[in-house]
């Protein structure tokens, strides 16, 4: 695939050796930073692009960017992907009791059209793989909400051998809603807070993911041992 967006034609800036958000020098050895769709067979590699992503520049002048941020904040399309037990509280949120449609929040069944990814609760290693693919197939600007205590520090699964402990080491998280299980009111409050952050232009998760791409990939490959998916799936 080739990108039709000419903003993507500018060169890739040097990826940092490690992200300030993580312990330095962690996982990013030369062995971990091979990013040529290594997990795939040759004919499959033809199907995916092998161009690294590039960060986007905000619109200029600045009031246009503010206008677009306001639009994004008021039309949030959530990817309908129930990754964990938090999905049980998304049903009351979208239905008549707490009607999230009032705030321009609606569910989209395909990641291509979604702009908000809700990681609902704990995510096992097997699910993390699907979360990463769904996240990379979403088109930027994209925002991630970590739902539940399990996405923050593992919660009560702190000693489970199959669930990740920190979500923000694998995909950039813009907002956490803590609790087990968070009530729909808390979820709505989280959405309002996300709106505020989007309007203020603080949600640049997609850019962070691009800047520290190698660091994220190294962390992901450190956990996902069966890496049979492309490194760049978009």
């Amino acid at each position: 695939m080739n990108d039709i967006d000419d903003k993507l034609k500018i060169d890739l800036p040097q990826a940092k050796t490690h992200s300030p958000s993580g312990p330095p020098g962690d996982g990013t050895g030369p062995a971990n930073s091979v990013l040529e769709n290594a997990g795939l067979s040759l004919e499959d590699q033809q199907l995916f692009c092998d161009a690294a992503p590039v960060p986007y520049e905000p619109y200029s002048p600045e009031f246009i960017e503010r206008f677009h941020n306001w639009i994004r904040a008021n039309s949030m399309w959530v990817l309908a992907f129930g990754t964990g037990c938090g999905a049980i509280e998304l049903n009351p949120l979208m239905t008549s009791r707490f009607d999230a449609n009032r705030f321009g929040i609606q569910m989209r069944p395909t990641p291509r059209q979604a702009s908000v990814l809700i990681v609902a609760g704990y995510s096992s290693v097997k699910t993390l793989k699907r979360i990463i693919r769904s996240y990379e197939q979403m088109q930027g600007p994209k925002f991630v909400i970590g739902l539940g205590i399990c996405t923050i520090n593992g919660g009560m699964y702190w000693d489970s051998y199959n669930t990740i402990k920190r979500l923000d080491r694998y995909i950039p998280v813009d907002l956490y809603v803590t609790g087990c299980m968070p009530r729909p009111e808390a979820l709505l409050a989280g959405f309002m807070e996300l709106k505020r952050k989007i309007k203020a232009g603080e949600c640049d998760g997609a850019n962070r993911y691009v800047k520290d791409f190698e660091w994220y990939k190294a962390n992901q490959k450190r956990v996902i041992k069966k890496w049979d998916m492309p490194d760049y799936n978009w």
């Binding site: 312990p23 290693v125 956990v223 041992k225």
Partner: protein, 191 residues
């Protein structure tokens, strides 16, 4: 039929069943846990015939689950096949013990159509091999698992998390007993 009457029926059915099993398979290790729940110990090679007999002659047609208990100190696995009889409303667990090293077991996939799922799980979680069971070597719930079978007693999941996943800074997990002693029951002292 009330609760009491039902208990009587299942109780005497159990006793008759035990006699039949004893004089058929000369296995006298039958533990009665409840009126409608008993545990039967058989040898490894007698297990399949026992299950066939129980399913075809005694009406234990429902396989609730298959599980294994890891007795690492005795170096044995104890397999449990929980059967249920809908006529007499009784549960019977057929148990057998196999060696913990190089553990294999006969597949009972030809008796129950869902048995292969349990055998697949046991293969993944305990490393018990079931030759002839379909898809027994496929991954069941784990993906790309590179450690020992995780449900074994000697697999330390906390240490595994330490080296595989990275905790968030500032999280400490404290010993619940110590905390309760200090905060909730200080007057009890060092109980």
């Amino acid at each position: 039929m009330g609760h009491a009457g039902l208990q009587l029926v299942s109780k005497e059915f159990m006793q008759q069943l035990c006699e039949r099993l004893t004089q058929r398979f000369d296995c006298d290790q039958i533990l009665h846990q409840k009126d409608d729940l008993s545990f039967l110990r058989v040898d490894k090679d007698k297990l399949e015939s026992t299950l066939v007999y129980l399913k075809t002659h005694e009406g234990f047609v429902h396989l609730s689950f298959v599980t294994v208990i890891d007795y690492i100190e005795d170096d044995i696995f104890r397999l449990s096949y929980m059967l249920h009889n809908y006529e007499s409303k009784t549960d019977l667990a057929v148990q057998t013990e196999i060696s913990r090293t190089a553990s294999t077991m006969h597949s009972i996939h030809h008796l129950w159509a869902q048995a292969w799922t349990y055998q697949r799980e046991l293969k993944e979680m305990y490393g018990i091999d079931f030759p002839g069971s379909p898809r027994v070597n496929d991954e069941f719930v784990l993906e790309g698992w590179d450690g020992p079978p995780p449900m074994l007693r000697d697999f330390d999941t906390a240490a595994f998390c330490e080296e595989r996943f990275v905790e968030r800074e500032g999280r400490e997990s404290q010993d619940v007993k110590q905390t309760m002693r200090d905060n909730l029951y200080p007057e009890r002292g060092e109980v």
